[in-house]
């Protein structure tokens, strides 16, 4: 099927929603960083956005079956990059998660995200499974587990956590029996106290702080409290462009990365926050619609992998901003400052657009 005919089936709603979310993100980054030490963020994000859109369109144009065929290559390359990062990476905030080529710095873990989704979909798309056998289960664990292990070595727990929704989505759509699901849930509940013992002190601190933010208002509870103040003081209509005091005056740390949504809520108020939430809803809804409309299993798992990763990150990030989840350090896809994350998210969205465009069997 020629590419120009497929364009008739292009999902314009999803595409425009993505562009809208990115634009909103740019505006908020501009407002949150003007006059602060991070003032260059807007221009860098702009360049990454253009690069990301090119990558996204590339991912749309090449038939997803072709991409899936080469998935082991992409997957292998990402693992290699992750290994290189462990050796040559730059240390930022105590974790070695950046790799530099010349002046450009990027996070291989973000690339690994997309290639893992592709690899997983390629595997599950080839198999015809009814229920989920032990072999499949093990394979899913291995495909996701390898990059996750390497990322946790950096250590970058936040990024590692974003693979969890992907895993859950793959297992659930892959056909796990409801009975097995219930048993797994029980085991997980019982294992939780044991996992607590393996957390690092700062991670325990974050969870404790989440449960009781006023415990240490100057220390680890500070971000949480400042985020709530930013959101709450925005009111119905917000303080206006460039007028958010929490972000502008740097009371809110990470104002243009992990807490970009708090700045948005402060400057644009409840109305703005709802419109942004609406955008995310549209994007998630269109991705799920793509999964339902996909013409084969590969398409289903690609769309599901992307949407689970995307929605998982988005909901986790916003949950932190409104104080419903502990601080994790997960960026808000499409809006947070961060080139690698933006590019990898756009790449993933390209795959979904690809599946939608080729949903009809001719």
């Amino acid at each position: 099927m020629p590419a120009w005919r497929s364009l008739n089936n292009f999902d314009w709603i999803l595409f425009l929603a993505i562009l809208a979310a990115c634009s909103v993100g740019l505006v908020v980054i501009y407002s949150a960083t003007t006059g602060t030490p991070s003032a260059g963020a807007f221009h860098r994000q702009m360049i990454w956005l253009l690069l990301g859109i090119v990558l996204m369109l590339l991912a749309v144009l090449i038939d997803y079956h072709t991409l899936a065929e080469f998935s082991p290559v992409f997957y292998g390359l990402s693992l290699l990059l992750l290994l290189l990062t462990l050796v040559y990476g730059h240390v930022v905030n105590a974790s070695k998660s950046w790799l530099g080529i010349g002046h450009v710095q990027f996070q291989p873990s973000e690339i690994a995200k997309v290639s893992t989704i592709l690899m997983l979909a390629a595997y599950l798309g080839r198999e015809r499974v009814r229920g989920l056998g032990a072999v499949h289960f093990a394979a899913i664990c291995a495909i996701i587990g390898l990059p996750v292990l390497l990322i946790m070595r950096q250590p970058d727990l936040g990024t590692a956590v974003t693979f969890a929704p992907l895993y859950a989505g793959a297992v659930f759509i892959g056909g796990i029996r409801v009975r097995t699901l219930v048993i797994l849930a029980l085991i997980a509940t019982l294992a939780l106290p044991m996992a607590w013992g393996h957390l690092k002190p700062y991670q325990k601190e974050r969870v404790k702080t989440f449960l009781e933010p006023t415990r240490d208002p100057k220390g680890s509870g500070y971000q949480l409290i400042q985020s709530l103040i930013a959101v709450g003081s925005g009111g119905l209509f917000g303080k206006g462009f460039l007028s958010g005091t929490q972000g502008q005056l740097q009371f809110l740390p990470e104002q243009h990365t992990d807490f970009v949504f708090a700045v948005l809520a402060e400057e644009r108020g409840f109305i703005g926050a709802m419109l942004a939430l609406g955008l995310y809803f549209v994007i998630i809804y269109r991705c799920l619609a793509t999964a339902r409309a996909a013409r084969d299993r590969l398409g289903v798992f690609l769309a599901i992998g992307v949407v689970c990763t995307f929605a998982g990150q988005a909901l986790l990030n916003i949950g932190v901003v409104v104080g419903m989840l502990p601080t994790t350090g997960v960026p808000l896809p499409l809006m947070s400052y961060g080139g690698s994350s933006l590019a990898s998210t756009l790449l993933g969205m390209g795959l979904v657009l690809n599946v939608w465009m080729r949903r009809l069997v001719n």
Binding site: G125, V231, L249, F281, R297, V322, M324
Partner: protein
């Protein structure tokens, strides 16, 4: 594409349906979380908006108090005694120093302050926000301020702060009248009803500075500033109020007289106060030992302060209104007035002094006992010679009730209401007082009346009471409230005289009594009496000397050979000129020995200066009035 056949289509309708169902489950799950978030935003941004708005404002808005300039204090001729000057403090920005321990030795070298002192000063700020600068060195000179300011690149953590500081132009001059200022104490802040005091605010602590603090301190202003998370000022908000400077104040003190007094007083301890007998205005006052009020303006004056407080000579105590002593022979004037007014004696009453008088089982002496007594004396001669025997007998005839009645009428045993923060009332003893004050021995003994008759015993007076008493004799019986405030500024540059009625009361004295007393007091100075050293030809100075006993010397010991702290206190109290008095005073010298020897010359020095100025002023007036008819 060729790869499509590698991937499986859906096995059957059931598989497609099952996938569909599970995708819908995910969809519902995500939608539910989004709705949950919707409610979270609603709760934070609509329900709790006021709460978070307030927290946000607390975060970013800081109210900065703007301190007004303190009112200037001037003397009666508008010569400034206390004003404000610019002071430079060197401050340290703790946020800009990575390693305080490594930096301090270098800093100690730059500032010339020992490391230990710097550490102490830094320790005062423990627990304060890190952005708050630490004052490391106070009140440096312009050269040092410029040195630090010009090295901002090298030493970005140091800055120079400019503040206004109280400045007493003449140091210790009139220190007890002016008082001093200092940071408001925690008690002061707590007990202030208006709740307007702030930590570190400068308030009057003593003297006029304390008495008129409300006028002098002015009205604080404030501004609202936006700060960032580091506490730095980002911008100033329009809202706010400018501070109103304090009102300038003119005192009745005359700088020339005050200087003459300070010079004449020398190193003695004690006090002196000079009044205008026709208004009660204080023309000069001194209390020694004194202190330099400028030292209190420093933050790091703890050592100086403790030194002054623990000094056994009590330099902080205002001896004009707070020290009370026996009036000694000065009280003989009170005795004479009482006897004349109560018709116990006439001026012609005669008595014979042999130097000794046996009363009951006690022997009372006259100071002239060694030369065999004064012989025969009338009242006038008894005052001039300050004969004890004469007044023992007079007191015995009069009785304690009439003595204490007249002492109280003449202003003793009560506060004079001088406009300074604290004042002692002194004691005028009588049987009623003794019953209350001495439960151990509640009965009045006749011998005590005899002691009181020559100004000893339980009698206690303050120098300001003495000066007011002298003024009342001079002006014919009016007791004025002594005061330091002459006028104060009502608007900027507009001054208003205090038009208070300073008359406390008029003592009913017959002109005859006043004539007799004035004449006797004139004789004390001008007729070879005990106060001859204060004589100034043509000025008709009237006074009475007094000696308050410290140590009951036996008749064999020469009083002048006693150690200094065992010697008697000296009084010299009077007014001048005799007719139409223009000045009245009380000079008190602690351990000064005899009043005529040490206290009289001090009064004389001030009086000379006073009359010199008076002549210039009135001479000028006469010249002017002569010039008019032309």
């Amino acid at each position: 594409m060729a790869f499509e056949q590698d991937y499986k289509g859906f096995q059957d309708y059931y598989e497609a349906r099952r996938l569909n169902t599970r995708i819908q489950v995910i969809q519902v799950l995500f939608a539910a979380v989004l709705v949950l978030y919707l409610f979270a935003f609603w709760y934070l941004q609509v329900v709790k908006v006021d709460y978070y708005k307030r927290l946000s404002d607390n975060n970013r808005l800081r109210r900065v108090t703007l301190m007004p300039l303190r009112g200037v204090i001037a003397d009666d001729e508008h010569r400034v005694l206390a004003n404000n000057r610019i002071a430079f403090n060197i401050r340290l920005d703790r946020e800009k120093v990575a390693d305080m321990k490594a930096f301090f030795p270098r800093l100690a070298g730059i500032l010339g302050v020992p490391e230990k002192t710097l550490n102490e000063r830094l320790a005062r700020y423990r627990g304060r926000p890190a952005f708050e600068p630490v004052i490391l060195k106070e009140d440096v000179d312009l050269a040092e301020a410029a040195y630090i300011e010009s090295r901002r690149l090298e030493l970005p953590m140091l800055s120079v702060e400019v503040e206004s500081r109280r400045n007493y132009l003449y140091g210790a001059l009139a220190a007890h009248a002016l008082g001093y200022v200092g940071e408001a104490s925690e008690d002061q802040i707590k007990s202030d009803p208006s709740g307007e005091f702030e930590l570190g605010e400068i308030v009057g602590k003593a003297g006029v500075e304390k008495q008129y603090d409300a006028d002098l301190k002015g009205v604080k202003g404030w501004k609202q500033v936006v700060v960032n998370s580091l506490g730095r000022e980002i911008q100033e908000i329009e809202e706010g109020r400018k501070p109103n400077p304090g009102r300038a104040m003119r005192l009745s003190i005359d700088l020339d007289l005050q200087r003459a007094l300070e010079e004449a007083y020398g190193d003695e301890a004690g006090s002196a106060v000079f009044l205008d007998p026709n208004s009660g205005a204080v023309l000069a006052m001194i209390s020694r030992p004194a202190y330099d009020p400028n030292v209190f303006a420093h933050r790091f004056s703890q050592d100086t302060w403790e030194g002054l407080v623990s000094d056994p000579r009590h330099p902080l105590q205002d001896r004009v209104s707070l020290s009370k002593f026996a009036p000694g022979s000065v009280f003989k004037v009170v005795m004479s007035i009482a006897a004349l007014e109560e018709n116990v004696a006439t001026p012609a009453r005669g008595d014979h002094c042999t130097g000794l008088w046996r009363f009951g089982d006690k022997v009372f002496q006259c100071w002239a006992v060694r030369k065999g007594g004064h012989g025969y004396l009338t009242m006038r001669e008894a005052i001039i010679q300050s004969c004890n025997i004469y007044f023992y007998h007079l007191g015995n005839d009069m009785g304690i009730d009439r003595i204490s009645k007249w002492a109280k009428l003449l202003g003793f045993g009560e506060q004079t209401k001088l406009d300074l923060p604290y004042e002692e009332a002194g004691t005028v003893p009588d049987p009623e007082w003794k019953r209350r004050a001495v439960p151990r021995d509640p009965f009045w003994h006749p011998g005590e009346t005899i002691s009181v008759s020559i100004g000893q015993g339980a009698l206690e007076v303050t120098p300001i009471q003495m000066a007011r008493f002298a003024a009342a004799i001079g002006n014919g019986g009016t007791l004025y409230r002594p005061h330091l405030l002459l006028s104060h500024e009502v608007r900027e540059g507009v001054e208003e005289e205090e038009r208070q009625d300073y008359v406390e009361r008029r003592v009913p004295l017959s002109p005859r009594t006043i004539e007799v007393i004035k004449d006797a007091m004139w004789g004390v100075v001008n007729e070879d009496g005990t106060g001859g050293r204060a004589k100034i030809a043509g000025r008709d100075i009237c006074a009475k000397t007094g000696t308050a006993q410290v140590f009951r010397a036996s008749r064999d010991i020469d009083a002048d050979k006693l150690p200094k702290d065992k010697r008697d206190h000296a009084w010299f109290v009077g007014f001048a000129p005799k007719d139409d008095p223009r000045i009245a005073w009380a000079v008190f010298v602690q351990n000064g020995g005899h009043g005529g020897t040490t206290a009289a010359p001090i009064a004389r020095a001030v009086l000379e200066r006073f009359f010199q100025k008076l002549d210039v002023r009135e001479g000028g007036q006469q010249l002017a009035s002569v010039a008019v008819p032309q």
